[in-house]
C-alpha cells in the first residue's frame, strides 16, 4: 500500500487508508493471537495430560499399551482392551458410515429434486445436533434391546460361522456401540461429501454424459475422482469423531475389562473408560492410568490425522498428474 504514495500526483494518504492499515494490523494481531492461542492451548493440554499420567507411565512403562488388565482393587492397569475396543468400534462405524454417507450425498446432489433435497439435508444435519448423551440413552433403552433381540440373532444365523458373530446376545456391547457411532458420524461425512459433490464442475459431468457414459459411470469416473481427496478427509474426520466419542459409547458398550472376540459381547473404548471412571478413581495410579489412556488416544488421533493428510496429498498429486 505504501508504494501508492510514491506517485507525486497522488494525494496524501487519507484517514481512511490509514484506518485500513490500522485494521490490517489489528486483523493480523487477532489472527496470530488466535492461531498461537490454540497451539499453546493444545501444547498445554498435552503437557497436563502427560504430567497427570506420569504416575502410571512411571509405574507401568510402555508395556501398559499391550497389557490387558483393569483392576482397581489390585491397582493393576493396562490399555489393550480399550485400544482394541476403540479401533474395532471405530472401524466398523467407518465401514458402515462411509457408503451410507456417500449414498446420501449423491442422492441429495444428483437424484433428489431440489424441493426434497433441502429438507432432507437439514434433517441429516439435525442428527448431528442430538446431544451424544441423549443418543446414548436412546441406545440403551431402545436401540440396544432391538439389536439384542433382532439384529444379533439374524447376524448369528447368517454369519455365525465367523467367531465375531456368535455368542450370547447383549443389549450393551461392541455392536450397539459401533452402530451408535455410525449414526453419529454419518451427518458429518455426508455433509462434507455433499459439499464436495455439489462443487464438481458441471461441465465435467456433462461432458462425460455427452460422451455416452451412464449416470453411474459419470459419478464414478468424474465425481469420485474429483472428490476423492475430500472424501478421504471427510472419512478421517468421521474416524476422529468415532475415536474421541466418550459418553454415548460409555452408555451402550457394556464396560467390560476383558477383550471378547464376539462383537455381541460387552467391550470398552479409551474415551468411554475415561468418561466412566475418572470421577470415581480412588487411587493416584488409577487416575494416572486413565490419563495414560487419554495420552494414548491423543497419539492415535494424531497418527490418524497425519495419515489423513498424507492420503489427501497423494490424491492431489495423482489428480495433478492426470
Amino acid at each position: 500500500m505504501t508504494t501508492v504514495t510514491q506517485d507525486p500526483a497522488a494525494p496524501e494518504p487519507s484517514l481512511e487508508s490509514r484506518g485500513i492499515r490500522l485494521g490490517d494490523v489489528a486483523f493480523r494481531g487477532v489472527a496470530i493471537a488466535a492461531a498461537a492461542g490454540v497451539t499453546f492451548l493444545l501444547a498445554l493440554i498435552a503437557y497436563k495430560v502427560i504430567e497427570q499420567a506420569w504416575p502410571a507411565i512411571e509405574h507401568f512403562g510402555l508395556s501398559f499399551v499391550w497389557t490387558e488388565a483393569w483392576n482397581p482393587v489390585q491397582d493393576e492397569y493396562g490399555a489393550l482392551t480399550f485400544i482394541y475396543g476403540t479401533v474395532v468400534t471405530s472401524v466398523i462405524a467407518l465401514l458402515l458410515a462411509t457408503p451410507i454417507s456417500i449414498a446420501i450425498a449423491l442422492f441429495l446432489t444428483e437424484i433428489a429434486p431440489r424441493r426434497i433435497a433441502a429438507p432432507i439435508a437439514t434433517l441429516v444435519e439435525l442428527l448431528a445436533a442430538i446431544p451424544s448423551v441423549v443418543l446414548g440413552l436412546w441406545g440403551i433403552l431402545v436401540f440396544g434391546p432391538w439389536v439384542a433381540e433382532n439384529l444379533e440373532p439374524w447376524l448369528e444365523k447368517w454369519l455365525g460361522f465367523i467367531p465375531l458373530f456368535e455368542g450370547t446376545f447383549y443389549q450393551a456391547g461392541m455392536l450397539p456401540a459401533a452402530l451408535v457411532l455410525t449414526i453419529m458420524i454419518v451427518p458429518i461425512t455426508s455433509a462434507i461429501c455433499r459439499e464436495l459433490f455439489s462443487r464438481t464442475p458441471r461441465d465435467l459431468t456433462d461432458g462425460a454424459l455427452a460422451l455416452g457414459s451412464t449416470r453411474w459411470e459419470a459419478i464414478r469416473g468424474v465425481m469420485f475422482a474429483y472428490a476423492a481427496p475430500g472424501i478421504a478427509a471427510a472419512v478421517l474426520l468421521g474416524l476422529g469423531r468415532a475415536f474421541g466419542e466418550a459418553i454415548a459409547v460409555a452408555q451402550v458398550i457394556g464396560g467390560s475389562d476383558h477383550i471378547n472376540v464376539s462383537l455381541f459381547a460387552p467391550a470398552d473404548t479409551l474415551g468411554a473408560r475415561i468418561a466412566s471412571q475418572y470421577q470415581g478413581a480412588t487411587t493416584p495410579l488409577q487416575q494416572g492410568s486413565l490419563l495414560y489412556l487419554g495420552a494414548i488416544l491423543m497419539v492415535i488421533s494424531l497418527v490418524t490425522n497425519v495419515c489423513a493428510q498424507l492420503i489427501v496429498r497423494r490424491f492431489e498429486k495423482q489428480r495433478r498428474a492426470v
Binding site: 484506518g19 485494521g23 489489528a26 486483523f27 487477532v30 488388565a69 483393569w70 483392576n71 482397581p72 482393587v73 489390585q74 446414548g136 440413552l137 440403551i140 433403552l141 440396544g144 434391546p145 439384542a148 450370547t168 447383549y170 443389549q171 450393551a172 456391547g173 460409555a250 452408555q251 457394556g254 464396560g255 467390560s256 475389562d257 460387552p266 470398552d268 468411554a272 468418561a275 466412566s276 471412571q277 475418572y278 470421577q279 470415581g280 478413581a281 480412588t282 488409577q286 487416575q287
Partner: protein, 349 residues
C-alpha cells in the same frame, strides 16, 4: 468492512473478558464468610440437596455441592479445592495420610437393593449372599440353577440366562455391594475384592443408576444393584436377601435399623462402622447390604465455624429428611462419634 472488524474485535474482547471473569470466579473464594463448597459422592446427593436450602435458612450459609463421584470428592478435598468432600467409601489409610489432617464423618445411612427382571415370576425372588456372589462370579448362569431353586421353593424360575449388570463408573453402591460379596464369599474376596469400581469377571456394565436400571428393565433375566431409594422410585422388583439369622429381609427402614444393632455402645474408630453382612445377633430383620456414607473435612480450615455448624446440623436435624428418601436416620452412637470428630475441625487463622 470496518464495522465487521470492529464487531470481530468486540467479540474477541468479550471472549477474553468472559474467560478472565470465569477464571476469577472459579477460584475458591477464601475470605468470604458464609459460603461452603463441596464435591463428591452422588449417592447422598438427593439428601444433600434437601439440606442445602435448610442450612441456608438456619445459618445463612450458602452451600454448593457438586456430585462428581466419591473419588473426585476425595481428590478435591485432598487438594483443598473444596471446603468439604463426600465419599461412600471410608478413606483408606494411605488416602487419609495423603489428605493431611482430614476427619471422616458418617452423615447418612442407606442400603443397596438387588432389582431383577423375571417376567411372570410368581412371588418375590429370594437370594442369599453366596448365591448372589456366585452369579456375579459367573458360576451360576441360569435362573433355574439348583442353587437358586433351593432358595425359592414353589417359584416358577425360568430357564433363562442370568445377565448380571454392574456399574461401569466408579460408585459408592459398587463399594457397598462388593464389600458385601467379599464378606460372604472368600473366592470373591481373593479374586475380585471390593472398591468403588472393581474388575467384574462377568456381566455387562452400564453407566450410572439410570444406566444399569435401563439394562435390567429391557433384559429379561437380568439383575443388578442400585440404592434402595432408586429402586423404589422406579418401582423395581427387588430380591429379599437372606441374613445371618437365616431370614429373608427387605431393605426397608426397619431392615436397615436392625443391621445397626450390632454397633458398639461407643463408636471410636471408622472401622467399627463396617456394617455389611451383620452377624446372627443383629436379629431376624437385619438387611445385609447396608452402608454409611461420609463427609470429609479438613481439621484446619479457614471456614471451620461454618463447616462445624453445617455438619453438626446434617448429622442431627438433617437426618429427619432421610426417611422420605430411604436414608435411615443415624443412630445415637454414630451421632456421638460424629460430634467428637466434628470438634476436631479447627480454625486455621
Amino acid at each position: 468492512m470496518k464495522k465487521s472488524l470492529a464487531a470481530g474485535l468486540a467479540l474477541f474482547a468479550l471472549v477474553v473478558a468472559t474467560v478472565v471473569a470465569t477464571g476469577a470466579t472459579a477460584a475458591p473464594s477464601k475470605s468470604q464468610a458464609g459460603t461452603l463448597t463441596g464435591a463428591g459422592a452422588t449417592f447422598p446427593f438427593p439428601l444433600i440437596s434437601k439440606w442445602i436450602p435448610e442450612v441456608g435458612k438456619a445459618y445463612d450459609i450458602n452451600i454448593t455441592y457438586a456430585p462428581t463421584g466419591s473419588g473426585a470428592g476425595i481428590a478435591a478435598i485432598t487438594a483443598r479445592t473444596v471446603d468439604f468432600g463426600a465419599s461412600d467409601a471410608p478413606l483408606s489409610s494411605s488416602q487419609l495420610e495423603a489428605c493431611k489432617g482430614c476427619v471422616v464423618i458418617p452423615w447418612a445411612l442407606s442400603a443397596t437393593s438387588i432389582p431383577y427382571n423375571l417376567p411372570g415370576l410368581n412371588g418375590r425372588l429370594r437370594l442369599d449372599g453366596p448365591t448372589l456372589s456366585r452369579i456375579y462370579l459367573g458360576e451360576i448362569t441360569s435362573w433355574n440353577d439348583q442353587r437358586i431353586r433351593a432358595l425359592n421353593p414353589g417359584r416358577n424360575l425360568p430357564d433363562t440366562k442370568i445377565t448380571p449388570v454392574f456399574r461401569s463408573d466408579g460408585s459408592g453402591t459398587t463399594y457397598n455391594f462388593t464389600e458385601y460379596l467379599s464378606s460372604v464369599n472368600a473366592t470373591w474376596k481373593d479374586k475380585v475384592g471390593f472398591n468403588t469400581s472393581v474388575s467384574f469377571p462377568t456381566g455387562v456394565g452400564a453407566r450410572g443408576s439410570a444406566g444399569v436400571a435401563g439394562v435390567v428393565r429391557n433384559t429379561p433375566g437380568a439383575l443388578t444393584y442400585v440404592d434402595v431409594a432408586y429402586s423404589l422410585a422406579n418401582k423395581f422388583d427387588f430380591a429379599v436377601m437372606k441374613n445371618r439369622a437365616g431370614k429373608y429381609t427387605t431393605p426397608g427402614l426397619r431392615g436397615i435399623n436392625a443391621s445397626l444393632s450390632q454397633l458398639p455402645k461407643k463408636v471410636t474408630t471408622l472401622s467399627q462402622l463396617k456394617i455389611v453382612d451383620p452377624p446372627r445377633s443383629a436379629g431376624p430383620l437385619a438387611y445385609p447390604i447396608v452402608t454409611f456414607t461420609y463427609v470429609i473435612a479438613p481439621t484446619q480450615s479457614s471456614k471451620a465455624a461454618d463447616l462445624r455448624k453445617f455438619i453438626f446440623w446434617a448429622v442431627t436435624q438433617g437426618q429427619k429428611f432421610g426417611p422420605a428418601l430411604l436414608f435411615q436416620p443415624l443412630p445415637k452412637t454414630v451421632q456421638a462419634f460424629a460430634y467428637r470428630e466434628i470438634k476436631k475441625i479447627q480454625s486455621s487463622s
